[in-house]
């Protein structure tokens, strides 16, 4: 059972670094909503920064991979995602097609490399 819950410190971290930072913005939106112009320049910047942070995280997982992903050679990791992106673009922005093809490239590539 303690394996299931884990340690309490990690749960405190989840509250402080995970739950509160997100909920604060949602509740601020609720509180101040109406007073903010959705198309304002500030929000364009906010969206750009949020997108770039997420992009950085995508890069982080690929460049410094966690766990089992580290057993896949870097070129294969990048290649699989590149193929996924190309299929996504060709297949009229189908996320599903892109994800499946990217995964297949990684699986077949790793199997082929041994």
């Amino acid at each position: 059972m303690s394996d299931f819950i884990g340690d309490w410190y990690a749960l405190l971290v989840l509250l402080l670094a995970g739950f509160l930072p997100n909920e604060v913005w949602r509740m601020l939106g609720l509180w101040l909503g109406g007073g903010v112009d959705e198309e304002s320049e500030l929000l364009v910047w906010v969206r750009a920064v949020a997108t770039a942070i997420l992009a950085g995280v995508i890069a982080q997982i690929l460049v410094l991979p966690p766990g089992a992903l580290a057993s896949i050679p870097p070129s294969l990791r990048y290649g699989a995602v590149a193929v996924g992106l190309m299929v996504f673009i060709v297949a009229k922005r189908s996320i599903l097609a892109g994800v499946i093809c990217g995964e297949l490239v990684m699986l077949i590539g790793k199997w082929w490399l041994g």
Binding site: G29, A52, P66, S71, I72, L107
Partner: protein
């Protein structure tokens, strides 16, 4: 599955509206993307040594895929709690405009602010997109119940996926474990690419990916923040420059 007409008697109860909201999760491809994403998050939580309870609680209470991944990957790579909290806080700013833009669709004249707290918690990119698609088909006075149903449905599916991903990562051979971990960058890259509405979004995405590997050589502990704020600001600069006559 189509929703009943706006004047249909089916909409008369809030419970019925809640159930209709919950069933609407079956009507979108985004549910499948969400499922894949949360399988990846569950696997990531396992491989960065968090407990299953932690992973499930993060899906339920944080309810923002990008924030959960930032939290997992920063803490997993040895960042301090403050560094992780900072990166998550900045990434979560995007929830603010989402809530602001959905509120006018949700509110009816008699709606109390506290009944909007739960719908506001459910706001994340998937629900936000679905609100724009589905809410015009829902009578205004039933929208809060409908969104609560939709949110409950999406969170339940995501918690199930988190559980499955966690168990798969714990039990599968490394090759398949790696395939599940690859779901996260793939699904996020493609769903973010799909949400790009302006040139600034595209520049932010491309530059954000390109800049991180460079910044990460500095080992600052807040690499994600530095690369994100720089790439995002440059993207905004491009947007601003193109607007000039």
């Amino acid at each position: 599955m189509a929703l009943p007409a706006l004047d249909s008697p089916t909409w008369q109860g809030t419970a019925a509206a809640f159930v209709l909201g919950m069933r609407s999760v079956a009507s979108t491809i985004l549910t499948l993307v969400l499922f894949a994403t949360y399988i990846g998050i569950g696997a990531l939580a396992h491989d960065t040594h968090f407990s299953l309870f932690w992973a499930l609680a993060s899906t339920m209470f944080v309810w923002a895929g990008p924030a959960q991944i930032i939290l997992l990957s920063t803490l997993g790579s040895g960042a301090t709690v403050i560094q992780a909290a900072l990166a998550v806080t900045v990434s979560a700013i995007r929830l603010f405009p989402m809530v602001v833009s959905v509120l006018p669709m949700l509110r009816a004249p008699q709606t109390r602010k506290r009944s909007l707290i739960l719908p506001a918690h459910f706001i994340a990119v998937t629900l936000w997109v679905e609100c724009f698609r589905l809410l015009p088909l829902v009578p205004r006075e039933r929208r809060v119940a409908f969104v609560n149903g939709l949110g409950t449905g999406l969170v339940s599916i995501s918690m199930t996926a988190t559980l499955i991903g966690y168990q798969l990562a714990a039990n599968l051979p490394p090759l398949f474990g790696a395939a599940i971990l690859l779901l996260t960058p793939l699904a996020f890259l493609l769903s973010t690419a799909r949400n790009c509405r302006q040139l600034s979004d595209v520049v932010a995405l491309v530059l954000g990916i390109a800049l991180f590997p460079v910044v990460s050589l500095l080992h600052t502990g807040v690499d994600i923040l530095i690369s994100g704020v720089s790439a995002g600001s440059i993207a905004y600069g491009v947007h601003w420059w193109r607007r000039q006559p």
